[in-house]
């Protein structure tokens, strides 16, 4: 049964899954899972500010994510704390500030659950335009900087010595991450965005023999998860976000199953 809202949800979910594929791979290769978590936690602060100043939520979340990324870069250079401690601090303090700001705004009634776990009913045509417009832009940029980004993932020193300016690529990558967090929020919710980035990429790892293949496969697996998850959400009346993540997990479990020898990549 393809109700109008459901069609929009599927379209939005597919847009998000396509972008999450390649970025999720970079996150796995660079061991940045916690960075994704930090950005998505800070998204709640973006939501609070959007409600406070009455601006577009996606835009506000994007802005806050970029700000948190930049703050992280500055803190990594200045502070004598390890990256994971800094990330944990940023993640939870921005989440807390977001909740405090929301609590002060007694005049707005917020469906917090919708933001935390995704809300397919809330996807408007404008959201779709933002998801696809933003998603295609992110994919295009990632495509352009892919060689530098990947080379810097393998060896920052080789990439620098051989003139690929990986610092630029890394900086752009952080902004693209902020973009993905912002557009994924409505589909899977703040708490589960990292799962949508990581689980499809982890699933693709078993099936791929080249980095580009892994990026494409994780987009496809993300797409299947979104489709399956949304169907389940509609069927059993469960929140969309968790449903999509469970579908992704099922894909992962299937990929870990033994596969016939002839199909196994070297």
């Amino acid at each position: 049964m393809l109700d109008d809202f459901f069609f929009r949800a599927v379209l939005g979910g597919i847009g998000v899954a396509l972008v999450a594929g390649p970025l999720g791979c970079i996150i796995i290769w660079r061991r940045l899972a916690y960075f994704g978590d930090t950005l998505s936690h800070s998204a709640l602060l973006g939501i609070a500010l959007a409600l406070l100043f009455d601006i577009n939520v996606t835009l506000a979340v994007f802005g806050i994510s970029v700000a948190v990324s930049m703050l992280l870069i500055v803190l990594q250079r200045r502070a004598s704390l390890s990256s994971d401690a800094l990330l944990g601090m940023l993640a939870h303090s921005s989440l807390a500030i977001g909740l405090v700001v929301l609590a002060f705004m007694t005049w707005v009634r917020v469906d917090l659950m919708g933001f935390l776990f995704g809300d397919i009913l809330a996807i408007t045509p404008l959201d779709l335009a933002i998801i696809w417009g933003g998603g295609i832009s992110v994919l295009a940029v990632v495509f352009i900087i892919w060689r530098s980004l990947f080379a810097a993932t393998v060896s920052y020193e080789i990439a620098t010595a051989e003139g690929l300016s990986p610092d630029h690529a890394n900086f752009i990558f952080m902004i693209m991450m902020a973009g993905v967090i912002a557009i994924s929020m409505k589909i899977v919710g703040v708490l589960l965005i990292t799962a949508l980035l990581i689980i499809p990429a982890a699933t693709a790892r078993r099936l791929s023999s080249s980095p580009e293949q892994m990026a494409i496969f994780s987009s496809i697996i993300g797409l299947i998860s979104v489709w399956g998850g949304l169907l389940g959400s509609l069927e059993w009346d469960i929140p969309a976000g968790p449903s999509i993540v469970v579908a992704a997990l099922i894909c992962f479990v299937l990929s870990v199953m033994p596969i016939p020898k002839r199909q196994r990549s070297r």
Binding site: R31, V154, S155, E157, A161, E162, G163, R205, S209
Partner: protein, 262 residues
Amino acid sequence: MSVLKEPEMLVSLENAGISRSDRWLVRGVSMSVSAGEIVTLIGPNGSGKSTTAKLTLGLLQPDEGTAYRKPHLNVGYVPQKLDLNWTLPLSVNRFLQLTNRASRAQINDALASTDTLHLANAQMSNLSGGEFQRVLLARAILRAPDFLVLDEPVQGVDSNGELALFSLIENIRNTLNCGVLLISHNLHIVMATTDRVICLNGHVCCSGSPANVASSAAFKSLFGEHATSGLAFYEHNHDHEHLPDGRIHHNARTGGEENIDA
């Protein structure tokens, strides 16, 4: 710039130093590599060989002195170690094209020259230490660099392979006319293949042609005792001080800088 047959200078360090937490990793290093020249850095562990190489590559910025690199220099770099994340599905073919595109024929030539053609489709994670090292070298060669930096390129390679790799490096220099900066522990082979040796121990202890350096007192004090006793301890560390103009002032009998060719 070069009027006659003066080879073009690719990189040079002028009295360069790097300090970290109030300690000088290297200081007062002056050296250069020109096109068609093989320069070898030798010295004990922690003497600043890799640091010096990184200065020439622009991976580190000197805290004092200057580092010059010819603009748009095409560099090939084999780092001392490369820790690959094994969640990366990365074939040898793809790894060779890490920083630049290449045709199938170019890739095969580069692999063949390091005797690794049979590994073209293997995953990097399945290579042995020696194979990995050869593939690293093949990747650097594939770029047809003007300036090739090899930080201990023969680790884990057996001794026959080692000889072959050093003659390969000479061949590359001859065909590409590139400058090569080599860091190596194998003194015997280094002496046979290199044009100029720079002996480092936090600063340039001595430099010159291999034969001259090998017979110098500073070199013997660095490597002679080391080779016989196996003791990685050097007495002449603090037997001299660095003058503001970059020269070394001696206040003991051994060590210090000797420029043998001068």
